[in-house]
């Protein structure tokens, strides 16, 4: 394959214990909680049943934008079996501060989306709770509503907030610019541009949100399905004015989150209902509520221009985008300041990135796997293809010519790429997909059979795992019999981290995996952790777990020196045994109690930021082969190839599960998913699994997974995070394959038959 001549091939770094044979790391151990998951004994939050437990239900707004004029709960309260009713009138006016949205109240008087919580009821049975919801009389003053981010930005748009609809800091679009963009465009040999639209994308975990809360007059115990158990505990303490030391949040089993399940109002409601009624309360969302109140990925309208040279080098990027962040969102330019990260993949000397976080009268948006990048790549990958076509380069060459390499400095924030095995990913993906033999050229289908045309397309991405938010902490204890225990505050979302983190500790201490116990999913027992997101769990959670193991071992050796008076002698802890000058000494002679070591990740500012020093690039390269029926417009993915640098696979089966899951959710985003709302009322139209189609068994194509292991020098045993960015390039890759097949571009996902036929000019 052709390559970028002046760049050395990315070498595989084996700095981390070169060619060392690991005993525990690198093996596909079964998930340590797999048995409970297959025999039905795993207790998810919805499975918790307490004596005297009440059932809670939430009433949602029947208007997209309205002020509650009057709310009468008398009839609901008087129903036999109703224990308590909460509304904005009888709940704390303490702001609740999720990290990824605007601060909100538990209940708002101004309702900004169809389905926003109006009231919550606790009753003896679910049926009575439902009856009570119907008995609540709400008088609304309806307000004009806006459902589109571009419309929301217009001066005469209905205002959701007194300060306006733009939720970027200072009330101006977040803008990042460097170089001289206008000059670059005026001097450009090639200019390509397009406007790209992406839909509201629901994380749609199989488990709806649920909380069981129990207040005994002193302590609050809450079982919550959340990726951020420690943040949930803080929210409960803050809003309900309970000492944090008296709040315990448990989330031992968790039915999928994908970024969706973090900080929400519902657990505050369940806990307050429990406090008011002095009874345990269970609040479980319906599927519809999960998809509406459970937040979702923003939709977007992206206007992108690329300037380039005739040999296909990008000289300038102009990216101007409108994000629909829903009723209470603000994260792209707001709380997370994401825009800076957009320059992360294609280098250029001149750029302007301008993002508008526009509130709309739709459910609140917050990060979902890949955050803004799946939408970003849907646009930019198509334009990079256009650039390649005009420059006479194939799609792999044009990408390798414009993306970074290991050791490059990323403008303008000055981070140096510690690793980025993109060429190896591209090469292996191309070989596995048979790209060289299949590619016939731009707009030339790889194969034509009657009305069915086939095409192939590529896309790339990069992880951003060192984009670290706040803290990760871990503690490791070594017991007098040589076994160990890891305490981690992070949450296993189904990502297998409860297994892989223990593998790291076992490897570090030289123990078999079964000798490392895990304590997780309980805030009263675990050290604080920001939460499970951004592919940070294995990377940062892993680094502190290994660090804690090292410190525990050192504590053990120090104890041995003290106890044995073995000054100057060699003391080691190997394979669960204490060796003094090579001779085993029973551990129990040295310690009677477990010794522990803790490692604390560096706490950072509240808002996210790039490390100025290094940027860990987990390279991703995808290739899609599709078949399009030009009569019906249907798109079928024949084969999907997914090459990803995972650093080192601590547990290869877990890693591949993440790669496959990311690809599959991306394929759904590209081809079928999208929450839709009535254009006049904002009422959700497809908040269920029948009308919102996630990929099922039959939809799922063959996916070739290629693990590249470049051994990231900064990662735990060389590992990188994997799950987040595995979704990023998919929609762009599929769109490029469709364009290759039909010779026309589709500028909006999902790529439905209708949009394909429009692109073909048939309708």
């Amino acid at each position: 394959m052709s390559r970028n001549a002046e760049r050395p091939r990315s070498e595989t770094v084996l700095e981390y214990e070169q060619e060392q044979k690991f005993k525990v790391v690198g093996q596909s151990f079964p998930l340590r909680d797999a048995r409970e998951k297959v025999d039905g004994s795993a207790k998810y939050s919805a499975d918790i049943k307490l004596e005297g437990m009440l059932h809670a239900k939430v009433l949602g707004s029947r208007h997209a934008h309205a002020m509650i004029r009057k709310i009468d709960v008398t009839a609901a309260r008087n129903l036999p079996g109703v224990a308590e009713v909460l509304t904005f009138e009888n709940t704390p006016r303490t702001l609740f501060h999720p990290h990824e949205t605007q601060p909100v109240f538990m209940f708002n008087q101004q309702l900004r989306f169809y389905g926003e919580a109006v009231a919550a009821v606790a009753a003896e049975t679910e049926e009575i709770a439902d009856e009570a919801l119907e008995a609540i009389k709400v008088e609304y003053d309806t307000l004009p509503a806006v459902f589109d981010p571009v419309e929301s930005a217009k001066p005469d748009a209905p205002k959701l907030y007194p300060e306006g609809n733009l939720m970027d800091p200072g009330g101006v679009p977040l803008t990042i610019t460097w170089g001289n963009v206008e000059k670059a465009f005026s001097e450009a040999e090639i200019v390509v541009k397009g406007t790209f639209r992406t839909p509201v994308h629901s994380p749609a975990p199989m488990e709806p949100r649920v909380c069981v809360a129990s207040w005994d007059g002193k302590d609050l115990h809450a079982w919550v399905s959340s990726q951020f158990p420690h943040r949930v505990a803080e929210d409960l303490a803050t809003v309900l004015d309970i000492p944090l030391s008296h709040v315990k949040v448990v989330s031992h089993f968790f039915g999928g989150g994908f970024g969706g399940k973090k900080q929400d109002e519902y657990y505050l409601m369940a806990a307050l209902l429990s406090i008011r009624t002095k009874r345990p309360v269970k609040l479980e969302f319906s599927r519809e509520q999960e998809m509406i109140m459970g937040k979702r990925r923003h939709s977007s309208v992206e206007n992108i221009r690329l300037a380039g040279t005739k040999d296909g080098r990008i000289t300038a990027i102009d990216f101007d985008t409108y994000y629909d962040v829903g009723a209470h969102g603000n994260f792209v330019g707001g709380t997370l300041g994401f825009l800076e990260s957009f320059l992360y993949i294609y280098k250029c000397e001149n750029a302007v990135f301008r993002g508008h976080d526009m509130v709309t009268n739709l459910p609140t948006a917050q990060p979902f796997r890949g955050v803004p990048f799946p939408a970003y790549h849907f646009g930019i990958e198509q334009l990079v293809d256009e650039l390649g076509e005009k420059a006479g380069l194939d799609p792999i060459t044009v990408r390798l010519r414009n993306t970074y390499r290991k050791g490059d400095t990323m403008k303008p924030f000055g981070a140096t790429m510690s690793n980025y095995a993109i060429e190896e990913c591209a090469e292996k993906a191309a070989a596995a997909a048979g790209f060289r033999s299949k590619w016939k050229g731009w707009k030339k289908p790889t194969e034509v059979r009657d009305t069915k045309v086939r095409g192939i397309g590529v896309g790339l991405s990069m992880g951003w795992v060192e984009w670290m938010r706040d803290m990760s902490n871990a503690t490791v204890k070594i017991y007098p019999d040589g076994s160990a225990e890891l305490f981690t505050g992070t949450q296993d979302l189904g990502t297998g981290s409860n297994t892989t983190l223990c593998q790291l500790v076992a490897e570090e201490l030289g123990l078999p995996l079964y000798k490392v116990k895990l304590t997780a999913g309980d805030t009263s027992q675990t050290p604080n952790d920001f939460g499970a997101c951004s592919s940070r769990t294995l990377y940062l959670g892993g680094l502190v777990s290994v660090g804690a193991a090292k410190k525990a071992r050192q504590a053990l050796i120090n104890a041995a020196r003290l106890r044995l008076g073995a000054d100057g002698e060699s003391i080691e802890f190997k394979e669960g045994k204490l060796l003094v000058n090579g001779e085993p000494v029973p551990l129990s002679e040295v310690i009677k109690e477990p010794v522990s070591g803790s490692q604390h990740g560096q706490p950072l500012e509240y808002a996210a930021q790039f490390f100025p020093s290094t940027y860990v690039g987990g390279a991703v390269f995808h290739i899609a082969e599709v078949e399009v029926d030009v009569e019906t417009g249907e798109v079928k993915v024949l084969k999907y190839t997914d090459a990803q640098d995972v650093g080192r696979a601590i547990n290869p089966a877990v890693v591949e599960g993440q790669m496959y899951g990311g690809a599959l959710q991306g394929l759904g985003y590209a081809l079928g998913e999208g929450l839709t709302f009535d254009k006049k009322t904002g009422k959700p139209l497809n908040a269920n699994f029948l009308d919102y189609k996630i990929f099922n068994f039959e939809d799922s194509p063959q996916v070739s997974l290629i693990r590249i292991e470049s051994h990231e020098p900064n990662g735990p045993f060389g590992a990188l995070g994997v799950g987040e960015h595995s979704i990023n390039p998919v929609a762009g890759t599929v769109a490029n394959a469709v364009a290759n097949a039909i010779g026309a571009r589709v500028f909006e996902i999902p790529i439905t038959p209708e949009r394909v036929l429009r692109a073909l000019g048939k309708i």
Binding site: S286, G657, L690, S700
Partner: protein, 161 residues
Amino acid sequence: MSKHFVDLNVNGVIHSIQVKGNWTLLKVLRDELNLTGTKCGCDEGQCGACTVLVNDKPVLSCLTLVSGLHGQEVTTIEGLGGGGNLAPLQESFIKHHALQCGFCTPGMIMLAEDLLLRNPHPTEQEIRYELRGNLCRCGAYPNITKAIQTVTARGRERSNE
């Protein structure tokens, strides 16, 4: 709503349960019998997480009214193994990482169990077709296929002996 009694044989144990006419099998399993291995993903028959066997046939327990099941045999995920042991299919799910978050897993296993009862040697295509109604958002489909086929292969070895 009036209540009446229904006798259900659940995992080999006969329960006489006072039920209301609108109670589903899912509700009875989870709330009355505390068999919480059967999951509720949608409560409207669209995700398959609540799949159990009634007289060895798979049903969506969230759409099945319990009042019509008097005297029937119900098998849930808790009843698949025996005496604290796992069924071969459960073992195979563990071994092949045929699960991530695990929420769809009990329903997947029950549906696959039915498939293997009817068709001990399903092809990949047959598995994809038969299990298409059960959703997994994490993306464990290929490993689920592997787990089912490996049990099949083991069955084949046994039948060849």
